[in-house]
């Protein structure tokens, strides 16, 4: 198991109270498995994934949660975008 930093932006960053959290990464993990581990580890994350509309980006592209995550990958969670 290797600790991986996961990023949070905007309302989700405020909700969990951190712009980054550590999660234990195992080889072959999917985004969904890392989400499960975040929910087990952090109560606010569990609440966030239950209550909020959360998008997931892997290496700065939005991906489905079935996507496999590599050791060096950049994983981020954020709400639907509202720019322009």
């Amino acid at each position: 198991m290797i600790p991986m930093k996961v990023k949070f932006f905007a309302s989700l960053r405020e909700y969990v109270g951190h712009d980054q959290l550590d999660v234990q990464w195992h080889s072959g993990d999917t985004v969904a498995e890392l989400i499960d581990r975040l929910q087990e580890e952090y109560e606010l994350c569990a609440k966030m994934f239950r209550e909020k509309n959360v998008l997931c980006a892997l290496n700065q592209s939005v991906v489905p949660v079935s996507t496999e995550v590599g050791e060096q990958d950049e994983l981020a969670f954020f709400p639907p975008v509202t720019g322009g």
């Binding site: 990023k7 509309n53 700065q60 981020a76 954020f78 709400p79 639907p80 975008v81 720019g83 322009g84």
Partner: protein
């Protein structure tokens, strides 16, 4: 060219830059500027705070520019999006497109704005006398973007 920046931009300078790159080929320049308005999700908005995902924002915008170039016959594109604290009437976003013909310039400019709003990782927080609140994503914006499919 794409810029994500805190400082303001000059519409006149951006227009002049697009115009000067023409070399006689362009018959049209379409531009759009988005401003901070006094109502959004709530009334009495006094300003906005804009956050983005550095790196991903630029990647998404570069992809949208490439899509615009493949769909329409456009010469140059310019996107500027501001982040940080913005007050009422301040400029938020600039999209400019030069092309040989106006239909390509208009279409590409609107396409870039529609997809910027639904795909680029920017988030707005509205400031009012009663406090600050994150803006909710609009279904109407998603429908507008889907209309280009």
């Amino acid at each position: 060219m794409i810029s994500v920046q805190e400082h303001d931009f000059s519409m006149a300078d951006e227009y002049e830059a697009l115009k000067s790159q023409s070399g006689g080929r362009n018959g049209a320049i379409a531009t759009f500027v988005g401003l901070v308005r006094d109502y959004g999700d709530q009334r009495g908005v006094t300003g906005l705070s804009l956050e983005h995902y550095p790196g991903m924002t630029e990647r998404v915008l570069e992809t949208l520019v490439a899509q615009a170039h493949s769909r329409w016959n456009v010469s140059q594109t310019r996107i500027i999006h501001r982040v940080g604290e913005l007050l009422l009437d301040e400029q938020i976003v600039f999209v400019g497109v030069s092309a040989a013909h106006r239909s390509d310039a208009f279409a590409a400019c609107e396409f870039l704005m529609d997809f910027l709003k639904t795909q680029a990782p920017f988030w707005k927080k509205e400031m009012t006398q009663d406090g600050a609140k994150w803006v909710e994503a609009k279904e109407s914006d998603s429908h507008k973007a889907q209309s280009w499919d």
